[in-house]
Symmetry: C2
Subunit: 202 residues, 2 copies
Amino acid sequence: MPEVQKERTKRADAVRNKDAIIDAALTRLSDNPGASMAEIARVAGVGRVTLYGHFADRKDLVGAVFERAMDRAEAELAAVDIEQDTWNSLQEIVQSSWRVLHQFNALLAAAEPYLSADQIRAHHDKPLARVVSVLEKGRSEGIFRTDHSLTWQAACFYAILHSAAAEIRAERLDEVAAAKILPSTIRALLVPPDLPTDKSLH
Amino acid sequence: MPEVQKERTKRADAVRNKDAIIDAALTRLSDNPGASMAEIARVAGVGRVTLYGHFADRKDLVGAVFERAMDRAEAELAAVDIEQDTWNSLQEIVQSSWRVLHQFNALLAAAEPYLSADQIRAHHDKPLARVVSVLEKGRSEGIFRTDHSLTWQAACFYAILHSAAAEIRAERLDEVAAAKILPSTIRALLVPPDLPTDKSLH
DNA sequence: GGTAACCTGAACATCATTGTTTGAGTAGTC
DNA sequence: GACTACTCAAACAATGATGTTCAGGTTACC
């Protein structure tokens, strides 16, 4: 046989623990990027040594957490249909991007010191590409303003999302209200200035 | 004489050093909230012991830095005339808020663990109040949309500003372009939907 | 039910940072 | 030009985090 032998199957409690550790790390690092290994182990309900049994070091753990977060993000964003009516896909992409961001907010700050700029960039670009493609579609249809750069509009898109996450953390906004107000805010950024979107004007 | 005697005047090099330390801390902490005392001293061109001669501990230093930042912010924002035409004062407050934020961005993250929530809130509310008062004025004049809450609009205001700061750091935007694009972006957020601001419509 | 895989707390070495002390040197101030 | 406030590097103790080792104790699995 080739050397792809998966080194035996892991024991059930081992995979369960490893999973719990990643989950705990996801939770804690999203709240505080500097959370200690001890704290993560504690939240995972596991000894500190066990944690180091599964992950060589902090970098290793953060990498795994980052990967899981990105997988979830991808799954969420891939579900959006880009080909439908532009305003609809915008709304959908806002909502799913929102859900993603709301969860894995500060996580990137934890990952930043460990992953290379290229790695982060690569993982960050995939979701961005989906947003940009919707922006481009809207532009080509003439329903989005073009006097602001695509880059800037995409940045604002994420800024507004981040803002909503922060407002929720500060308890000045709840998730239901956020889901409602976000699309109309983003829409305001994209509508051409001084022109109603309603065709009845002309 | 009463006991308000200012314990002799400090020597010139002492005040110069203290000043340099605050400046260095302002710079370094804005870039990295976890910057070490050693690094700050080095940037200030001063021995670590000298730093501790002027500031009892980290908390003391961060407090002084925070205060200086807030003073500058206040001075900058107080220069804006609120009573003029609303769109103009909006533009001016965008630009000065922008200048403030661009400089003292991550600083709040450094101050957060040391200052009480109330202190931060108090210092944060002053600039916010100016923004809100312009928003209220625009609403009462019927030129700003009212279907989004004041709180949310203010949050978006700062989110867009933060976004511009981040874009500049990433070198996807320069300061000149930022000063130009920010007002029109903020304006887009505030204009009532589906209605041109131009009165010629009706 | 036996075996190996896995978990555990306790203890340890290492490292970075904070904050302090000392003792001697330097430079403002009068 | 002398006094003294101030500065400095080096060395110190204290803390807290990381990562490792060890010597049992469980528990999944066949």
